[in-house]
Symmetry: none
Subunit: 117 residues, 2 copies
DNA sequence: ACTGTATGCTAAGTTTACCAAGCACACGCT
DNA sequence: AGCGTGTGCTTGGTAAACTTAGCATACAGT
């Protein structure tokens, strides 16, 4: 059950702290901007807690950076993950509200038939 | 204060369920792939809980989609990342370097057949 | 009939993200 | 000397994410 991603989350805290100081913000100032309490932000910066995605998004906004960058630093953006990137077609199909589930299934099956060899 | 997110999270559960069924996975199968318990996944799909970013990432991996797409559907990407274009499917097909011209035409023809009445 | 197994759901519990209140130190003021 | 305000940190508590054990149905072998 134990995770060994400690280093990942610890460095996330250091990253946030670095960005905060780079923006010349105090703990409380950033906490208010990101709509979290200041003790909690302190604990996040020291790696005691893993902030939720919602908090990360607010922090990213407060620090004027994209949420993707934040998630990437948090280690939950799957660095190179297996074949997610080159499949823009599949994602577009899956997200299209004009298609029924059966139709999506059909299209994806055909698409995979084309791309697999 | 957080009521305005309800619709977002509710649809996230439906989205996950749709993707799961699209991949022909049972609740337990997807739960195992995403390293969560199956009752929890059931509750997530019905909108009772907001999955954490880590769970979201694992779910995205298990469903062969990018984590960004997942976060986008979950509504916790910056609001500047706007909603998917209604006809992103055709563009994605045209831009896919893995498809031949014939294959692109075939896919687009099928897609249009689906979306026309 | 009677298992065995697959499906999803419920109940009860543990863990943890997160907050409100307050502590301790440092730096200006008057 | 005080007083006020800024900094980050600690302490208790609550709510929600998440798990383990188990229920109920449905469908396949004997």
């Amino acid at each position: 059950m134990s995770d060994r991603d400690d280093a990942v989350w610890k460095s996330l805290g250091e990253f946030i702290k670095a960005q905060r100081e780079l923006a010349n913000l105090s703990l409380r100032q950033l906490a208010e901007l990101a709509k979290v309490s200041n003790p909690y932000l302190s604990q996040v910066e020291r790696g005691l807690y893993k902030p939720s995605a919602e908090v990360l998004k607010n922090l990213a906004n407060a620090l004027h950076m994209s949420a993707e960058t934040m998630y990437g630093q948090a280690g939950l953006l799957d660095e190179d993950s297996k074949g997610a990137a080159p499949h823009g077609v599949e994602n577009a199909i899956k997200l299209d509200p004009a298609l029924s589930q059966d139709q999506k299934e059909t299209l994806i099956r055909i698409y995979r038939g084309f791309t697999e060899r």
